[in-house]
Structures are given as C-alpha cells and as structure tokens.
Point group: C2
Chain length 202, copies 2
C-alpha cells in the first residue's frame, strides 16, 4: 500500500498549472523560484507549496488563532531594525509576536523510494526537521524544513512589553538565522539536481 | 521497499529493554509513562524515545549550539514565575533563552500501514506536526509532535534584555501552552488503545 503515487504525471501537471498561476499572481517567494524550477524539472518530483523562510511581525487575537491573525510586517530576507519598529508601530490589539520561520517546501514524490531519497538528501544538507508529511493513495508528500525558528511575544492590546534595544537584539539573531537558512537553500539547489542522475548511474 | 520493519519483534524487545533501563535510572518523564505503556502494549508499535513537553531556561554559547548548551531550569509542567526567575539568576555567560517544546514521541511501527494509521490518529488529535521521520530497512519511525513552541532570547553574558514583568507575561503564555499540550497527550492516551481493535473489527 501507498508505495507510489497514483496518476503521478496527471497530479504533477495539475500542480504545475497551479504553480504557473501562483507565479503570474506574484504569490511565490521570488528567491525560491529557481529551486522550485530545479525540483520540478526532475522526473519523479513536483512541488506543491513552499515558503523561502521569513521574519514577521504578527498580531493574533489569542495564541494559536492563525485564522484571525494579521501580518504587520513580513520579509523573506534580513531586515533593518527600523522596518520591524515600523511594523510594531501598527499594532493595535491582540497578542503581538515577532516570528521567524524556516524555509518549508512540500514535494510530491512518485514512489516511496523517491520520497525517502529526497528526505535523506534534505536532512543531510541541514534541513533537520524534514519528514514525510503524508502518505496516502493520493499523495506521497515530503516536507523539507529546517530548525531556525523564533516565537517572541512582544506585547498585547497596543502595549509593548519590551524596549527598542531588545528589538535590536532579536533582529540581530533573526538576521543570522536568515543568513543560515539561505545558505542551506543554496546548497539544496546545488545538490537536488543530482538526485536522479545518482539513481541512474550503474 | 521499506514496507515493513525487518525483525520488528527483535527490535521491539531491544527497545523495551532500553526503556526499562531508562525507567530504572529515572530518565523518563513521569507523566508520559502511562502513555508509553499503552503504546508498547500494542502489537505493532514500540516507543523509542519521548519527551512529555517542557518549559526551560537555557544557556547556549551561541545560537544552535545545543552540544554546549546548559539547562538552568527545566520543567515538564506549568511553572511559577519565581522558579523561572531563580533559573535566570543562575545565568552567567552565552545566550540566555526561554524555551517551550511540545511533547515528542518516536514510535517504531511494524508496517507502513501501521505507521500511517498512527500518524493520522495523532494529526487528528491536534499533534499537527506529526510525521514519518525515517523510513529504512531498519526502521519505520513515526514522530508525534504538536505545535506549541516558544524561543525567546532573554539576554547574553549575564546581561538581561527584558524585565521581570516581561518574564511574568511569557510564563503566563507558556503555562497556557503546557495546559494545552497536556490535554492533547491525555486524549492520545485515550484513543491510541483503540488503534489495533479498529483494525481487527470485521
């Protein structure tokens, strides 16, 4: 059971159509597009969703309520303290958080063997939280994910719990995390192309 | 390939021996022991490692250097502000962090079908970051993990970046996360027992 994805090529065609639409609408993080192209050029894989990693300032009605949360600022790159302070300045109500999220890619694989091969490549390149996210008749989904993350509560209902010097500190840490995961993405782009050739060699 | 774990019963026996040793040495989080017992009483699963979730205060030489990090305080339960302040008082050098980690269980499964069944049960009970962590001839490993997490930088080299009022705030948020994941663990304990019966029913 679940050893391979049913109608893989059909599914891939549909995913590629979705990607083209998302690209046209500017909904894909620019700096991850070359990596997506590389993965999608492989015979046995296709990307279904992705984020290149981000720093953000977010307002949530209460913890975990993502549905009603609002981004006051979001950057897929290193940030300046001023940008973060400006986003914080827009805070009015609910819980205010400073967040970092590692890059995340969801990749459909043709067979379980293909899935495991990509999983092991990703883990070896520092994407240590990578895993097989779902296994069903419809889909074999590999999640590529790294460890960088911060969840820092900053205040609530317009009141700030920390001072500007603290924001400066955490922006410094955040930027070093961003530099780290960008490096990992770069290496993944270099190595992922070889994954099918390795398979075909005698 | 990798549809089932080779020598499952042998592996399980070895894991159970390791668990007994860990229990004897007091290395297993008390409140998760009944859940481990339930999982290990099932024919097709065994636990290989686990943490019941925790709040901690940690000192790291620099970000991500877990090897040389030191716990100044660690609790598998809700905490009092005073306990956290006491731990922070022991900080001397390196980066100081306040952390929350969700419960995490690693469970070996006999077959891929068993793995997927447990994965889907866990996700359905709110352990949304659950996944299949590794797939090899030796092991089919399900990771059960939830979303609760905080990583809050508090200071560096003995200097604190935040005040006591802030610590109070984040302890409040942390405690509500702990209550949430304890509830999820409880439900998992109630539901996991049924997983093999469901399988055997006509």
């Amino acid at each position: 059971m679940f050893l391979y994805t049913k109608n893989f090529d059909e599914q891939k065609a549909r995913a590629m159509e979705g990607l083209r639409r998302a690209l046209a609408e500017g909904k894909v993080d620019d700096d991850i597009i070359p990596l997506l192209d590389k993965i999608n050029s492989l015979e046995n894989y296709f990307t279904t969703s992705s984020c290149s990693g981000r720093i953000s300032v977010m307002e949530m009605p209460h913890f975990g309520d993502k549905v009603n949360s609002v981004w006051l600022g979001k950057w897929h790159r290193t940030v300046k303290v001023e940008e973060v302070l400006e986003a914080i300045g827009r805070h009015e109500k609910g819980q205010l958080w400073f967040l970092i999220r590692s890059p995340i890619l969801h990749v459909g694989a043709r067979t379980m063997e293909d899935a495991v091969k990509l999983l092991n490549l990703a883990i070896g390149l520092g994407f240590k939280y990578s895993n097989i996210k779902s296994v069903s008749h419809k889909k074999l989904l590999v999640e590529i994910r790294s460890t960088e993350r911060m969840d820092v509560p900053l205040g609530t209902d317009g009141e700030l719990w920390v001072d500007e010097a603290y924001i400066e500190r955490i922006v410094g840490i955040a930027n070093s995390q961003v530099r780290r995961f960008k490096g990992k993405l770069k290496r993944l782009g270099e190595e992922v192309e070889k994954i099918e050739n390795a398979h075909q060699s005698p």
